[in-house]
């Protein structure tokens, strides 16, 4: 029975919008801050120097060592990512695939699909792109778009298969996309030792992409893929919120019953959602290939697929949020490299921080409890409703 006679929020439009925005930003902000604090704690407790200092210098010396440990770590991280023009360029380079991959997961979330397969779609896309990019000699105006398109199509088709299986048989997309990731890994192992290998084939490395398919670099290593990412983010926003297709995706993702009632073909939309998501994953791979690596070797992707889940959640599945989250994580990632060389702290601290961020976003009750914030109604943004293996 639904007789919720809730009082509608305040009548004043502007102040309520400001309030809403604040609520929308507050939890993610606190989530990131808290994760960084815990990350700092992990850095400290795993730092042998801190223990030595406590042993030799007592409490005072120990506290000083803690401060040194954390400040050197985070100091080198931030100087390494934002300290010079070159560092800023590297941060933006690192953010580029994150934007695409985060958008891929976000679009899936919006359409009620949990795409854990970004990693595999991305790799397959890179293979398609490297094939087109290195085998055909064409003028750049054709070659570059064609190479990018090859990646998008490969990613889209691979993801759409999972969407199709879900729509037709109810097979859960989470398990299927995980399985499909491994199929792609193996396929790429084989391809890199076979038809995708450079001649003579001495190690599993593809031939380089021809210059006509390069995404040109212009600010140190920053390439046009970054702008492409921003344009695509805008396009995704436009598609999701300004078009009938986006309306259908969001409706199916939020309330499939109402979608059916409204005459939307839910199965078609599921496949389409996955296809778009896969195409974005493909773009992540293609831009990284054509803008940075320009060659495909084993270990091309360093876990973009999983990072992307964190990005989509942190960005609340909104393209603008995803872009901001990607910039943040790109900065952290690229700073972490410097942190590793200066403070000798493994870059994997970023994964830990990412995991913590997801925890706090997914269970905001923890953050609210820590900071004593009162709950304010429903605040899940672009929530996913995957439950069970379906059937």
């Amino acid at each position: 029975m639904t007789t919720d006679e809730k009082i509608t929020p305040s009548q004043n439009g502007l102040s309520s919008i400001i309030k809403q925005t604040f609520d929308l930003v507050l939890i993610p902000f606190l989530a990131v801050v808290t994760a960084l604090i815990i990350g700092g704690f992990i850095i400290v407790v795993t730092d042998a120097a801190v223990y030595t200092a406590f042993g030799e210098g007592g409490i005072g010396g120990g506290l000083a060592a803690i401060w040194t440990s954390v400040s050197v770590a985070y100091g080198s991280m931030f100087s390494g990512s934002l300290g010079s023009a070159r560092d800023i360029s590297e941060s933006l380079v690192a953010s580029t695939p994150y934007i695409f991959a985060g958008l891929a997961v976000a679009v899936g979330f919006r359409g009620g699909m949990f795409n854990i397969g970004v990693e595999g779609q991305l790799l397959l896309a890179v293979m398609a792109s490297v094939y087109v990019g290195s085998n055909f000699s064409l003028p750049w105006i054709i070659h570059l778009p064609l190479t990018i398109l090859a990646g998008m199509v490969a990613g889209a088709a691979w993801a759409a298969l999972a969407g199709y299986l879900k729509a037709k048989t109810g097979a859960h997309e989470v398990i299927n996309t995980i399985m499909m990731n491994y199929i792609v890994y193996l396929f790429s192992d084989w391809a890199l030792n076979g038809f995708l290998c450079r001649t003579p084939c001495s190690s599993p490395v593809s031939p380089p992409v021809l210059e006509s398919a390069f995404l040109p670099q212009f600010f140190y290593r920053l390439h046009f893929g970054f702008f492409l990412a921003l344009i695509v983010a805008f396009a995704v926003w436009w598609l999701l919120f300004k078009t009938t297709i986006g309306f259908e995706i969001r409706t199916v993702g939020t309330n499939p019953n109402a979608a059916r009632y409204g005459g939307i073909q839910t199965t078609k939309v599921m496949v389409l959602t996955m296809a778009i998501s896969g195409a974005l994953a493909g773009l992540a791979g293609a831009s990284e290939l054509l803008g940075v690596n320009r060659v495909l070797a084993a270990g091309f992707s360093s876990g973009y697929g999983f990072d992307a889940i964190a990005l989509a959640l942190l960005g609340r599945s909104h393209p603008l949020g995803v872009v901001l989250a990607a910039l943040l994580f790109g900065t952290l990632r690229s700073g972490a490299t410097r942190m590793q060389s200066l403070a000798n702290i493994p870059t994997d601290i970023i994964s830990i921080i990412q995991a913590l961020v997801i925890v706090f976003i997914a269970a905001p009750a923890i953050i609210r409890w820590i900071y004593r914030i009162k709950a304010k109604g429903a605040e899940e943004g672009g929530g996913v409703m995957v439950q069970g293996w379906g059937s």
Binding site: T2, T3, E5, N255, N257
Partner: protein, 520 residues
């Protein structure tokens, strides 16, 4: 001797709803005490409180004269209370024995389940109470009637002396109902006391020793079956609240718009939910479907609107065969649908009102190609909010934060603002405040007078009577009668809804069949 069970002043407040209001009830040893009331009257809530599934806001429970604290099913079981829920609490993949012993398992050698001992006890209970069932059968393979026996065995296995049966006959065939009644008599003869929840009058008279009637969360009367008739009980059950009056002129029916013939529909569990239903509605008239929830109305509406597969039969809308067309095709013919469960089907709660306004027309009326015409959406939204009196701070407000009445007005605005030939309104005023009810009713009649054919489905008898020109009563998947609204009393309708044959109820009316020219 104190009664085996006494409920004193039970009150249960849900957010926004007073489900039970100071309810008192006593149960004597060995009696069948029937709890009668319409859907949503608060019967199930009361029993869930007794079984420890809900915590009462106020009130006390006494068992054998002693105050009992029941904070969970475990307490209830310990006090000898057993409940057969309306929706069976059985696990299909387990056997009868396993289902029965769950929570009170027989164990041998310390940790192992002793299925033999349990099965033997089940067989004993089967024999004693004539509840024949194979303890080794899997529940998923059993017909519903037998599943119910398993539920009763589950309760007896725990040596319950107080048995609650929540709408036990809803899913049974007439023969199974008779068997159940025999079992109930046997049980009471052996000292078990039974609370029997139902809204079917005939059954109550057949089996109960005492009757309490609940209406809107309150006990409104107690009666003895020997001193009651179906009429008197129906009166008690539906009560005589302020009659809803809808200002309307006499209908001017034109051409038939909806023609349903021999329609057969299955429900989600693959059982026949609508059996061989035929009727028609002309432009300019309202056909109301009255009936207790779960008698096939939902499936009927879903099939007409394209949301459910029709097994056989024909649905003609405006001359076009529409059975098993897609919802969109049917909408495009000129059909509007106010769905039964607005939050499940009718709205996307997290979307702003303006997006909910365009849920089924976003692709044509409100789009140029694939681009949604936001200017038009906004203008229309502002216009509709005004015109349909939707109380909202802005058109950007999520539908979920509106009150029930205003949510329904959003749907009404959307569905009534298209050129429409057929309007299907399912429970159009459920959970809606009085002001909105009047408003929505007036709109429906306005559409009728503009020439649309209208199908109103409601479990609220007053609503059906107030709106309809003709009333079809559904019972057990069939339309048992179609009668002119101004020639039938509420009590007669109540009897029809309860499954009393129409010859008995109506007497004076020759037939309820629809034939051309018979309409009034």
């Amino acid at each position: 001797m104190p009664p085996v069970l006494e409920l004193r002043g039970i009150t249960k407040q849900f957010p926004g709803v007073l489900a039970n209001d100071n309810v008192n009830l006593t149960l004597e040893k060995g009696e069948v005490h029937a709890l009668l009331g319409e859907n949503g009257a608060g019967k199930t809530t009361l029993m869930n409180i007794l079984y420890g599934l809900y915590k009462p806001t106020k009130g006390e429970i006494y068992i054998n004269g002693k105050r009992a604290e029941i904070s969970g099913p475990t307490d209830a079981i310990r006090q000898g209370i057993g409940m057969v829920h309306q929706h069976f609490m059985l696990i299909p993949v387990l056997t009868v024995t396993e289902n029965v012993m769950l929570g009170e398992e027989s164990i041998h050698n310390g940790i192992f389940l002793d299925r033999k001992v349990a099965a033997k006890r089940i067989e004993e209970i089967s024999k004693k109470y004539r509840l024949e069932v194979d303890p080794h059968a899997y529940v998923r393979d059993l017909p519903v009637g037998i599943q119910q026996r398993v539920e009763i065995i589950k309760v007896l296995y725990r040596q319950a002396t107080i048995l609650i049966l929540d709408e036990p006959t809803a899913v049974l065939t007439p023969q199974e109902v008779d068997e159940l009644f025999n079992i109930m008599k046997l049980l009471t003869s052996q000292g078990v006391s039974i609370i029997f929840i139902t809204h079917k009058l005939k059954e109550i008279l057949a089996v109960s020793d005492r009757i309490s009637v609940i209406r809107r969360g309150q006990t409104v009367g107690t009666a003895k079956p020997t001193e009651s008739t179906e009429q008197s009980l129906a009166e008690l059950m539906v009560g005589r609240p302020v009659e809803l009056v809808v200002q309307k002129k006499k209908a001017q029916p034109t051409q038939p718009v909806l023609l349903v013939k021999n329609l057969v529909i299955k429900n989600d569990r693959d059982r026949i939910a609508v059996e061989d239903v035929s009727f028609e509605i002309s432009g300019g008239e309202v056909l109301g479907v009255a009936g207790v929830q779960g008698n096939g109305q939902t499936e009927l509406v879903e099939a007409i609107t394209g949301l459910r597969h029709a097994e056989s039969g024909s649905i003609k809308i405006d001359g076009q065969e529409s059975a098993n067309k897609t919802p969109r095709q049917i909408t495009e013919i000129g059909v509007s649908h106010v769905p039964e469960d607005r939050q499940r089907d009718g709205l996307v709660l997290s979307f702003p009102i303006k997006d909910n306004f365009i849920l089924n027309t976003y692709y044509n009326t409100f789009a140029n190609g694939i681009i949604i015409d936001e200017k038009k959406v906004n203008e229309t939204a502002i216009k509709w909010v005004e015109k349909f009196d939707v109380r909202t701070p802005s058109i950007e407000t999520p539908a979920g934060s509106l009150s029930g009445g205003n949510q329904q007005k959003v749907i009404v605005a959307r569905e009534f603002s298209r050129p429409l030939k057929l309007l299907i309104a399912s429970q159009p005023t459920r959970g809606v405040d009085v002001g909105s009810i009047e408003y929505i009713h007036a709109r429906i009649i306005q559409k009728r007078d503009e020439g649309a054919a209208i199908l109103v489905v409601s479990t609220e008898l007053d609503e059906v009577r107030a709106l309809s020109d003709r009333i079809a009563v559904m019972f057990d998947g069939k339309i048992v009668a179609i009668v002119p609204a101004d020639q039938v009393t509420k009590e007669q309708l109540g009897l029809l809804m309860a499954g009393v044959p129409k010859e008995e109820v109506l007497g004076v009316f020759p037939q309820g069949k629809t034939k051309k020219g018979e309409k009034l």
